[in-house]
Amino acid sequence: MQQAVNYWWIIGGVLFVLLNTAAGLIWLERRMLALWQDRYGPNRAGPFGLFIVLADTIKLFFKEDWIPPFADKIVFVFAPAVVVASVLMSFAVIPFGPNVLVADFNIGLLFFLAMSSIGVYSVVLGGWASNNKYSLLGAMRGASQMISYEVFMGLALMGVVLLSGTFNLREIVEAQRGMWYIIPQFLGFVIFLIAGVAETHRLPFDIPEAESELVAGFHAEYSGMKFGMFFIGEYLGITLVSSMIVTLYFGGWLGPAFLPGVVWFILKTFVFISLFILLRASMPRPRYDQLMEYGWKVLFPLSLLNLLATAAIILILK
C-alpha cells in the first residue's frame, strides 16, 4: 500500500515538475536570450517577470481554438497530443534521483528511442492534417530530419550501452560511479547532443518550422491550446534531451554528497537546457540539404566509428 502511494507521489511530482518546467522555460528562454543579446527580456510582470508564464498560459487558453475547414479534423486534433504524450512517456524511464524513478525498465534506453520516434508522428500528422502546403513541406522536412538523426542518435548511444552493458537507465547511472561517460564517450556525447537538437527540432535545426521560409512549418494552422501543446512538447523535448544527456554522459544524479541526488540532476539538466538556449542565441539555421548532408556524411560515419572503436577497446581490455 505504502509502496503504491509512493509511486503515485512520484508520478504526480514528476508530472507537476515537468509541466511547470516546460512552462517556466518560456520565461527562462526569453530571459537567457535577452541576456545574451544585451537586453532584459520580460521583466515587468511579477518578480523578474516570472508572471509572463502565467500571462502566456492564460493567453493561450483563451485564444480561439480554430480548426480550419479544409483540415483533416480528427488527425488535426490528435497530432498535438502525440508530441506531449510521447515526450512525457519518455520521462517515465529517466532516473531523477536514487529512488525517484517512475518505471525501472530494463529496456529504458530503447523505450526512450521508441518514444522519440513516435514524436515524429506528431510533426508529420500535424503537417499533413493541416492540408496546407507550408505545413506539408515542414512536416516532410521534419520527418526526414528526425528519422535520419535518430539513426545515429541510437548509434551514438550504443557506446554507452557497450560500456555499461545494460539498457536500464538506472544501472547506466550506477555504472558511472567511477567515471562519467563523457570522458570515454566524448564523441558519442557530441553526436548525441547534435542529434538531440535535431530531434527536438530546436534552433539551429528548426528546419521543420523555419519561420522565414515556411511561415511556421508544420504548426502553421494551429492556434490556441493545440499550438500550446506543440509549444509545451518542444520545451519538454529540450528538457528530455538535456536530462538524457545528463543521465547517459554526466552521471545522472551522481555528485558530491552535500546535495541530494535530485538536486544534482536538476542542476546538470539546467546547464544543458541553457546550452540549448545558447545554441539558439548563436547559431544560424543551416540549409536543408546542408543539414541532411551533415547528418549522413559526417555524423553517421563518426557514430559508426565511435561504436567500432568503443567495441574494439572494450574487447582489448577484456
Binding site: W36, R39, Y40, M283
Partner: protein, 171 residues
C-alpha cells in the same frame, strides 16, 4: 566547426556585457536637441507670438494636419486667429519647421503624447503655444523685418537703413 564554437563562446561572453535597453518609463532615453517631437508655437523675446499666419507650414505639411486662420491686429501685426494641429495625423517630418519664415513653429524633443481619446490629439493654439523662444533665442521677427507696424516705421528695424528719399536730389 571551430567558427561555430567560437561564435557560441562570443555570444556567451555577452552575458557580461552592459545591456542596451532603457527601462523606459523609469529611465528616459536621452533625446537630442534636434529631436522632431511635439510641435510648439514659440514666442519672441518680448513675449509676443512669432507666428504671422503665412500658411507656409500648412502648405508644406504633407499630411495636411495643420490648419490656421490669419488675422491682423490693430497695430498691424499679423497673427493666427486659430491654429490647430491634428497630432493623430502628424508624421513629425519637420517640414513645417523648415517652412516657417519666422521660427515660430518648432519641433520639441518630446514624444510622450499618448491619449485614450483621439479627439484629445487635436491641439489648439493655446495648447501649442509655449512660453519660450525655442531654438532661436533673441529672434524677433518684427524687429528685423522691414514691415511697418505701429510704433515701428520703415527703416527703424534692427540693421536697417532708413529708406532713401527718392523725392530729394541731395545725396
Amino acid at each position: 566547426m571551430f567558427s561555430l564554437i567560437r561564435s557560441m563562446w562570443l555570444v556567451f561572453l555577452h552575458m557580461f556585457h552592459k545591456r542596451e535597453t532603457y527601462q523606459y518609463p523609469e529611465e528616459k532615453a536621452p533625446l537630442p536637441a534636434r529631436w522632431r517631437g511635439r510641435i510648439a508655437l514659440t514666442r519672441d523675446p518680448d513675449g509676443g507670438e512669432r507666428c504671422v499666419g503665412c500658411y507656409l507650414c500648412a502648405a508644406a505639411c504633407p499630411v495636411d494636419c495643420i490648419s490656421l486662420q490669419a488675422a491682423e491686429a490693430p497695430d498691424g501685426r499679423r497673427y493666427p486667429s486659430f491654429f490647430r494641429i491634428n497630432f493623430s495625423r502628424c508624421i513629425f517630418c519637420g517640414f513645417c519647421e523648415e517652412a516657417c519664415p519666422t521660427y515660430a513653429i518648432q519641433l520639441l524633443p518630446d514624444f510622450e503624447m499618448a491619449e485614450y481619446n483621439r479627439q484629445n490629439l487635436v491641439y489648439e493654439k493655446e495648447d501649442l503655444t509655449i512660453n519660450s523662444q525655442g531654438k532661436y533665442p533673441g529672434y524677433n521677427y518684427y524687429k528685423v523685418a522691414g514691415m511697418t507696424i505701429s510704433g515701428k516705421d520703415k527703416g527703424e528695424a534692427a540693421k536697417e537703413e532708413p529708406p532713401v528719399d527718392i523725392k530729394s536730389l541731395l545725396p
